[in-house]
């Protein structure tokens, strides 16, 4: 695998992030390649969730936070004043740690993002809902009960529903914030298969505390500690021949 093969979709340069006075990210520079999976690993509290939430400016909703440095998506600084954060979030989808379906029907959950973006055509809605559910490998399980409340689904199904919900608005990037930490191993396997398939269309960034998962699904891996990027390279390289002693200690389970 050669990094020159694919374009760089997301590029962060010297990214700093503060919660009030506390510095949660220190000069993080990572490149996420288009149509590849980039995994962010590291011990709890290393800033990996903070990092991924800067990519769709989800941290904006937390009071007293501040970003320094650059985040470029397709070369555009997403923190520039003229950027519409709403449009950014449509383009950069996010799947959260805990499945968070809305208390609506399965259908309405998927249609939600379409409707807020102004889609009214019933037929078009139905088509997109089906396409998104197929894309999230959930269609066969729910096609006969689209009117049921989303809470009736199992945890794993709920998480795939949330993935389908993000797919519906046709994002370019999908961010996964520890998507499997709240679901069981079988459901986890399904979500991992799904991520594998998604990367043919989307740029995927996934935060995980599970190193095996990172090794299984990702093409590139960033290892973070205490808010700093320790090492960033192709996944194969990180897991077989890490350049940094800290990385080696972490992946071999000496701490974390």
């Amino acid at each position: 695998m050669n990094s020159a093969e694919t374009a760089i979709k997301i590029r962060t340069r010297d990214l700093d992030f503060y919660y009030g006075a506390a510095r949660a990210l220190k000069k993080v520079s990572v490149d996420c390649h288009d149509r590849k999976v980039t995994a962010i690993i590291g011990p709890s509290g290393c800033g990996k969730s903070t990092f991924i939430r800067t990519l769709n400016r989800m941290n904006d909703v937390i009071a007293g936070t501040r970003v320094d440095g650059e985040i470029l998506i397709d070369g555009q600084n997403i923190n520039a004043p003229e950027v519409d954060v709403v449009e950014l979030r449509r383009r950069v989808g996010m799947v959260f740690q805990k499945p968070n379906p809305f208390p609506k029907s399965i259908y309405d959950n998927i249609a939600y993002g379409l409707r807020i973006n102004g889609m009214r055509d019933r037929r078009k809605l139905e088509e997109t809902v089906e396409k998104s559910l197929r894309g999230a490998a959930l269609w066969d399980e729910v096609k006969d009960r689209l009117d049921e409340n989303a809470f009736a689904l199992s945890g794993g199904q709920q998480q795939r529903l949330c993935i389908a919900r993000s797919l519906a608005v046709e994002p370019e990037v999908i961010l996964f914030d520890e998507p499997c930490s709240a679901i069981d191993p079988i459901a986890t396997a399904k979500v991992e298969d799904l991520i594998e398939r998604l990367k043919s269309t989307y740029t995927v960034v996934i935060v995980t505390h599970n190193m095996q998962q990172a090794a299984r699904v990702s093409d590139y891996t960033a290892f973070m500690m205490l808010g700093e990027l320790v090492e960033f390279d192709q996944t194969e390289k990180i897991f077989t021949n890490p350049a940094n002693k800290l990385t080696e200690d972490y992946i071999t389970g000496r701490f974390g």
């Binding site: 998506i73 519409d84 709403v86 950014l88």
Partner: protein
């Protein structure tokens, strides 16, 4: 990346709309204060501040010499309020402790809304009960002509302050970390000892705030005291005497006073005194409560 959409403007407008509603609370509070100040001010062209606060005689309609002494009414208000707190505080804390530490949760789920019913009884109905039930009862017990006096008012205000004291005290007892009481129980203390020596002290600031809020309510209550305390204008010497509180005096006299007279302005000055007193009491409650919430975090 597309540039900001037109929706940005709409969003700002919506936010501005909600902000206006939010800031309204500040404006109303400020408006009340300034209105009271502005309307009381002309009263003091004729009344000396010293007379207003230290004279015990209030007789604005006297043909010889109008007098504007507020002291008797301030004392009456404080007396009736103090009496109410003496009754309501122990009972209120007792009920709060019962609900949080003794009652089975099922019983608690039923009793809490029942206590809320008490809070829902209009003050005019409470005053009516003071006239028809407590008045005659007090007259009988103390062998006096009628039972419309400070004691009656205190009992009624205690009843009205109870729901506030109960619910906030209970919240503060429930907010005491479970670890505290578990530690105490594990040392062999009984549930009662744990309640008295660990939970009540730990929840003290919340309970103090509850008492202050109850006190604010008692000071500002109008209809019950108007109906049940007898409204005599003299300086109060005991709980079995008829008294007239500041609130009752405004209610009695504002309806009959000619507009824009010193008497009229003086009634607004009483309103200002009431406002300042309740504001101070509520502010203290607020500070105490905030401190205790900060500590919890």
């Amino acid at each position: 990346m597309r540039k900001k959409r037109r929706s940005g403007l709409k969003e700002s407008a919506i936010k501005a709309f909600f902000f206006t509603s939010g800031i309204l609370a500040v404006l109303v509070l400020l408006g009340i204060f300034l209105t009271l100040v502005a309307t009381s001010f002309p009263a003091f062209r004729e009344i000396k501040l010293g007379e207003f606060f230290l004279n015990t005689r209030w007789d604005p309609t006297s043909p010889e010499k109008a007098e504007y002494g507020l002291l008797s009414m301030i004392m009456s208000t404080l007396m009736v309020t103090a009496g109410a707190l003496v009754l309501a505080v122990p009972i209120g804390i007792g009920v709060a402790a019962y609900l949080s530490d003794v009652a089975h949760w099922r019983v608690r789920e039923i009793l809490k809304p029942v206590v809320e019913i008490l809070a829902g009884i209009p003050s005019v109905v409470v005053g009516f009960i003071g006239i028809v039930l407590f008045g005659p009862a007090i007259a009988k017990v103390f062998h006096i002509g009628n039972g419309l006096n400070a004691l009656n008012g205190s009992i009624l205000l205690a009843i009205m302050a109870l729901p506030t004291i109960i619910s906030i005290s209970e919240d503060s007892l429930n907010a005491v970390p479970r670890a505290y009481s578990e530690a105490s129980l594990a040392l062999g203390a009984s549930r009662w000892q744990t309640l008295v020596r660990v939970k009540l002290p730990a929840g003290l600031s919340g309970i103090i705030a509850a008492v202050m809020l109850g006190m604010g309510r008692a000071i500002g209550e109008t209809m019950t005291v108007l109906m049940a305390t007898g409204n005599a204008r003299s300086f109060p010497h005991g709980f079995l005497e008829a008294v007239r509180t500041m609130t009752a005096n405004i209610a009695i006299e504002l309806g009959e006073v000619p507009y824009y007279t010193t008497h009229y302005y003086a009634l607004f000055a009483i309103g200002l005194v009431l406002f300042v007193m309740t504001f101070a009491v509520n502010l203290i409650a607020d500070v105490v409560l905030n401190k205790y919430q900060e500590r919890e975090q």
